[in-house]
Amino acid sequence: MADHIAVRTLPLTGFHGGSSAVRLEAAAPAERISLRVRAEDVAALSGPLGIDLPVKPKTSSSDNGRTALWLGPDEWLVIAEGGSDVGNSLMQAAKNSGALHSAADVSHRNTAILVSGQGAAAAINAGCPQDLSLKAFPVGACSRTVLGKVEIVLLRTAEEAFRVEVWRSFSDYAFGLLAEGAQDAAV
């Protein structure tokens, strides 16, 4: 039933905001898995995923369009940019490892907001209590944390650029708060 192939409706469609100091945009859809692995099996997963799972807190690693974010001692968020519209290559890759792990497809659970510009950190600090100075939160640093009244995963992709991963039903709120933060960061 070709006429019945479902099309995706992305959260944050039509959202735009920012200020002279901060650019806010919805990230493109991506594949994501929540990956849980015991320390002894980390290496076994890294190969099939094509990326070294970082083992140092608050760090990420990135390769071939895939990024693995350390979220906890046995937990990673793995994001693959682009990826297929149906099916999840990361799930398959993890499965192929044969190692003991848990992978759950969360591609649609999360969405992401890209925050960039000289006021990016200040905009995020409108609701995030972490120290986002480059010293404390260098490029590549990542952390699950809070933004106002919701939980986010924050990844610094460049000195003045962050990726804010957020559950889809909280994304309106997160975007709205970041928009206000962006406005204030430009003052």
């Binding site: 807190p57 001692p73 937990e75 209590p129």
Partner: protein
């Protein structure tokens, strides 16, 4: 707003990322189905509620997600240490409600006779 050292993230983070999870080192009885009503009440309800050094659990719920243990002075709210779940109770000198900690703002008040 407390500043809490997460032993898994190896960093101090804002209390906003954490959830308090009650007194630490209360193990669920192995033979829970067989214990008496008194023992159950003791396990489930009775708490030390220390004034002074307390051992408690926190979860870095909006961080790494891990439960861990902390030793804190409930008078000064100062953390003495935090350590990973499963580790034995970290023995620390009893601080009590000592002179060094100021219990309340009113500690500067004198005697009322």
């Amino acid at each position: 707003m407390l500043l809490i050292h997460c032993p898994y993230c190896e960093e101090d983070r804002s209390e906003l990322e954490f959830r308090w999870a009650g007194e630490a080192h209360i193990a669920r009885p192995e033979n829970i189905a067989a214990i008496s009503d008194e023992e159950f009440a003791e396990y489930f309800f009775l708490r030390n509620n220390e004034k002074g050094l307390t051992y408690e659990r926190w979860r870095h719920i909006h961080g790494c997600g891990r439960f861990f243990n902390a030793a804190r002075d409930t008078v000064s709210d100062r953390f003495l240490t935090t350590y990973k779940a499963g580790l034995p109770k970290q023995v620390l000198p009893e601080t009590g409600a000592s002179e060094k900690t100021v219990e309340t703002y009113e500690a500067t008040e004198g005697d009322a006779r």
